[in-house]
């Protein structure tokens, strides 16, 4: 393509001198809108120009290797971009060049004639096709798919690619290649089918898709979280089953004497008492035939379970933090994040309105963050602080009361358990879990009421305050319960592990029942009442935060109870499974999807973080405490007769070859070595990160300063243009240096309309600038400080519109094609200034470069001897070397 381009370019340049010079005297031709004319006022043929022509063309072809070309051709079709990029570039910036206005006006603005444009397009397409042909099959399909063009074009390109491949194949087409082709094709199809099937087989694939399509992304976050928890539990249940439960059942099937009454499903006592559901159902004996050590299996499975949980949480958390927190810095992209947060998947009209309102509020908030808020008066501030303190105190009081209530009830519970065992006492045990669930249900509602009194300016702060309170309440109650389970119960009950396991089981069941009740009564009835009785009210909002916190609470219970009841994940799995469908119905038919914008990713991270920090870490600590410190019950469970469960492991170690002392010493050495290696790697990575930060900031500065350079140069150019010297840019490749491509104002009719060499009287007053009305070549070149003057009166925006080198590779076609009618794609800029008048002796001074010793990084301007008058007659199709760009 480069070849095509350069020849084409050269050809048109040669045309140039023959153009009629109707603009000779600098008079504007009102009817013509060619951009070319602005920058190429009619000039006599210059020998200098003739000389430099060759280098221009070569520079042009060099330029082409940078693939800035097809912007122009795309202009016409409006969608023919991407051609002519290298493969890698292509993959990265697939089709970014097709942002073209499909307007006839654009066509008019082109300096090229129809056939020339056709040739360009053809060349570009050929190049693209050739790039594609060279790609491997899979990548090719993906690349064609990722072209941002219309379907028809993709189809054409694909056909051409296929055609291009055929002749090559036909040369060496043999039976073998044929066969290979067939096999690979059928394999490809088979693979497509398999992936499609896999998609269908995945749990809730369709349901999740439907939810994602109909509701907000944040809602989808909840369901994804639920699904992830379910998967985690299923995987880990399998672990427990295969290493603890199945060997136990195989070894000694439990003989259960009691009959199943039904209440056991709720209480977990009686029938389940001695089953494998709870700790008491396991025995510590070694299974003789495989020498299976149940104590070790029990402990190691628990460790493995917790470790796997931890790893998957940390992995997810790391991913989430990386993508949502580190990779974007909220401080720098606040406004944009809001603008990009429009959720195209909201369908409900009312939801859209509500979303718009909230977005409006958030935009206002982000604005008020930037502007100084009026300082509140001391009395106001005092009032607000008092209010908040009061609400927090109220909340702490509530939490304290509920914790005390729970503790009192639990000690009473314990007395009942010690003294009486029967159906009545079993039913009584249900009271404690009910109370806990009830508190969990009601107190957050009260808190939500209180938080209305507090006047938080920021929705986020309000949200996080509610979150923190809710988490604190749940965790403090769990803390009280754990205290009760780990200190009070072991001394009072003989087989205390089973008792605790049953308690946790009851908690999990009650939690589930309450969420069902809340769904039915809280959401369904409430929405019924609201919509039927008060038509103006909306149904209750689907509160994602609360729902996720409930999930986290349930999962914490499972982790705490895991040691006492290895099959507790079954309850959790059933619960999550039913909950999914319940919540789906709730969100589809009853509730109002939450419409708070722009928080999905952030909330996702926060949820996983919460699951990790208070929930997982505390359960891990509790489990460690049980295993290392607590005396197991003497008459039931796998650890009968041991001081602490961990003794099982140490006695096993002693019986094996490795002595524990050796292991500890070696372990310490190993630990030291490992941690020092990790530290070194961390230090290294940290340094790399710091360096990259420096590089990034330096590059940013460079972009900005180069942009300024360009703006300044453009100003100079326009100033001189106005004075009717002609400026030429010579493209020149400087290896290793990427200079910016330049963008000059286009010939827009209107404020910055076509000026086409207009000078003096034809220009409007604001356009008159120093040196513009009086084109004196001897005019001292404007100094750099003139930059702000905007010599030609253009708006600063358009005047400074310059492409950054960094973005130029990826810039929009529109931008690049707008870039520089007279100054096409200059990689390295050298300017020649031509003037109609014979160059005065002081001509070199015209070039500010020589006269004023400009900043070294600025390009040099050199005078050019005048060119023939006929050379610059405006004519479409002229000078491909300076391809006119459609206007912005």
């Amino acid at each position: 393509m480069s070849r095509g381009w350069s020849t084409h370019r050269r050809g048109s340049m040669e045309e140039m001198p023959n153009r009629p010079g109707q603009n000779d005297g600098g008079q504007s031709n009102a009817s013509s809108t060619s951009v070319e004319e602005i920058y190429l006022p009619p000039q006599p043929v210059s020998s200098r120009w003739q000389q430099s022509k060759a280098s221009v063309s070569s520079a042009a072809s060099l330029d082409l290797t940078r693939r800035y070309t097809l912007d122009m051709s795309t202009t016409r079709l409006g969608e023919q971009p991407g051609e002519g990029r290298t493969i890698s570039e292509y993959k990265q910036h697939a089709r970014r060049s097709c942002l073209l206005p499909r307007s006839c006006a654009v066509l008019c603005n082109l300096g090229l004639s129809e056939p020339e444009i056709e040739t360009e397009i053809e060349n570009d397409t050929a190049e693209l096709v050739w790039d594609l042909v060279r790609m491997p099959r899979g990548m090719r399909a993906q690349a064609i798919r990722s072209l941002a063009v219309s379907f028809e074009e993709k189809r054409n390109i694909r056909l051409r690619v296929l055609e291009a491949r055929l002749p090559k194949d036909s040369v060496k087409r043999t039976c073998c290649t044929d066969c290979c082709e067939q096999v690979s094709l059928s394999f490809h199809r088979f693979w497509m089918d398999v992936t499609a099937c896999r998609g269908h087989l995945a749990l809730w694939h369709g349901a999740l898709k439907e939810i994602g399509g109909r509701f907000r992304t944040a809602v989808l976050t909840y369901f994804r979280f639920l699904k992830w928890l379910l998967m985690l539990n299923v995987g880990l249940l399998l672990l427990n089953l295969s290493f603890i439960t199945v060997p136990e059942i195989v070894h000694m099937p439990n003989t259960i004497n009691t009959t199943f009454k039904g209440l056991e499903l709720l209480t977990g006592t009686g029938y389940f008492d001695q089953s494998v559901m709870f700790y008491g159902g396991y025995s510590g004996e070694v299974i003789k035939r495989g020498s299976y050590h149940m104590q070790l299996a029990y402990l190691f499975t628990m460790f493995a379970y917790m470790m796997l949980c931890g790893i998957s949480i940390v992995y997810r958390l790391g991913n989430s933090v990386w993508r949502n927190v580190i990779a974007h810095s909220p401080t720098t992209f606040g406004a944009w994040r809001l603008l990009c947060s429009w959720d195209f998947s909201i369908l409900n009209e009312k939801a859209i309105q509500s979303f718009q309102k909230k977005l409006f509020v958030q935009i206002k908030e982000s604005l008020s963050d930037c502007t100084e808020r009026p300082e509140p008066t001391p009395s106001d501030r005092l009032k607000r602080i008092c209010l908040r303190v009061a609400v927090w105190l109220l909340y702490v009081g509530l939490a304290f009361v509920s914790c005390t209530g729970v503790y009192v009830l639990s000690t009473y519970n314990l007395q009942v358990a010690v003294h009486a065992r029967g159906l009545k006492s079993e039913a009584f045990f249900l009271l404690l879990p009910m109370l806990v669930s009830f508190i969990n249900l009601v107190v957050p509602l009260l808190c939500a009421l209180f938080s209305r009194i507090e006047q938080y300016h920021n929705l986020r702060v309000q949200m996080y305050a509610a979150l923190v309170r809710d988490v604190l309440l749940k965790m403090s109650m769990l803390g009280v319960l754990c205290y009760y389970w780990l200190t009070d119960v072991p001394s009072a009950i003989p087989c205390w592990e089973s008792f605790v396991g049953q308690d946790v089981y009851r908690m999990a069941i009650a939690d589930f029942l309450f969420s069902v009740l809340r769904c039915v009564f809280g959401e369904y009835l409430c929405s019924l009442i609201r919509t039927k009785c008060f038509k103006s009210l909306r149904p209750p909002e689907f509160d994602i935060t609360r729902n996720v916190l409930d999930l986290i609470h349930a999962q914490t219970l499972v982790w705490i109870g895991l040691y006492f009841s290895p099959l507790l994940p079954i309850v959790q799995i059933v619960k999550l499974f039913i909950l999914f469908y319940m919540k789906k119905v709730s969100i589809s038919l009853i509730c109002w999807p939450s419409t708070r914008p722009g928080h999905a990713a952030e909330m996702k991270t926060a949820f996983v973080a919460l699951l990790f920090f208070p929930s997982y870490i505390s359960s891990l600590l509790i489990m460690g405490y049980i295993v290392w410190r607590l005396k197991p019950s003497a008459h039931c469970g796998p650890f009968q007769g041991l001081d602490v469960p961990m003794d099982g492991v140490s006695s096993w170690l002693e019986s094996t070859v490795i002595s524990p002392h050796k292991l500890v010493i070696q372990g310490k050495l190993l630990l030291l070595l490992l941690s020092s290696i990790i530290l070194i790697i961390l230090c290294f990575l940290w340094q790399v990160v710091q360096d990259r930060k420096c590089v990034i900031s330096a590059l940013r500065e460079q972009i900005v300063s180069e942009g300024k350079d360009k703006a300044f140069l453009l100003d100079k150019l326009c100033g001189m243009q106005a004075g009717r010297p002609q400026v030429r840019f010579l493209d020149e490749e400087v290896p290793g240096v990427r200079k910016p491509a330049y963008k000059l104002p286009q010939s827009t009719p209107g404020p910055r309309g076509p000026r086409k060499g207009r000078v003096g009287p034809t220009r409007s007053a604001p356009e008159l600038t120093r040196g513009a009305s009086q084109p004196t070549p001897a005019d001292p070149p404007p100094h750099r400080s003139d930059q702000a003057v905007r010599a030609d009166g253009r708006s600063p925006v358009s005047a400074s519109r310059a492409e950054s080198p960094r973005t130029s590779a990826a810039r929009s076609p529109r931008t690049s094609m707008a870039g520089s009618p007279g100054v096409p794609r200059c990689s390295r800029v050298e300017c020649w200034v031509e003037d109609e008048k014979p160059a005065p002796p002081s001509a070199p001074q015209l070039a500010w470069a020589s006269a004023h010793s400009p900043p070294p990084r600025f390009p040099r301007l050199e005078p050019i001897t005048p060119r023939g008058a006929g050379a610059t007659a405006p004519k479409p199709g002229a000078a491909p070397g300076r391809k006119p760009r459609p206007k912005l």
Binding site: E79, R96, C340
Partner: protein, 189 residues
């Protein structure tokens, strides 16, 4: 679905599959939905074009504040009336599908937000964008001062080369930093 499947020849279907990010089921569903929009007389012509008004009756687009822009961006009509052929429609769904790349999504988002089709997001575009997002009703309209402040914030954040407009690469740079974008730029039939 059997009836609609018979209307789409197998090779065409596989071509659609290869050239878009959609799965077979999605293409068939799209075809079904599209044929429902086509009037009887339109069905006879070689290339069926559904006018924008018809397209906008789809519940997926009906209330979207960007619905007209979406139609215009994906339309290949010479008249620029926003009418869509089935293939344009597939293009639309493909760009808004789950499996479309960030690249494609941000590209089309840029074109949708570029209200005057000039290839950069300038002040006018941004103003319209904000108005679309906030609904442009009396109570949700920003004052001129706020709008100016907001736009200058936006440009401050994203206009890396300080030329006063946001071009595609700058836009994509911003988009790559907003994690919610890919999941929210989505339309599922």
């Amino acid at each position: 679905m059997g009836a609609t499947a018979s209307q789409l020849p197998k090779d065409l279907l596989s071509e659609y599959q290869e050239l878009t990010f959609l799965t077979k089921q999605e293409i068939l569903l799209a075809h079904k939905r599209f044929t429902e929009l086509v009037t009887r007389e339109g069905r006879t012509s070689a290339v069926t074009r559904v006018p924008m008004e018809k397209i906008l009756t789809l519940p997926e687009l009906k209330s979207n504040p960007f619905r007209k822009r979406i139609c215009h961006v994906f339309s290949t009509s010479e008249l620029k009336d926003g009418s869509l052929t089935f293939e344009d429609f597939l293009d639309l769904l493909s760009a808004f599908s789950d499996s479309a790349t960030l690249e494609i999504k941000s590209h089309y988002a840029f074109r949708i937000f570029d209200f005057d089709d000039d290839g950069t997001l300038d002040q006018g575009d941004l103003e319209k964008l904000v108005n679309c997002l906030t609904g442009d009703t009396e109570d949700t309209r920003l004052t001129t001062e706020e709008m100016r402040q907001l736009i200058s914030n936006i440009l401050e954040e994203s206009d890396i080369d300080k030329d006063g407009t946001v071009n595609l690469s700058e836009f994509q740079h911003v988009i790559s930093r907003s994690p919610d974008f890919v999941s929210s730029f989505k339309i599922v039939l």
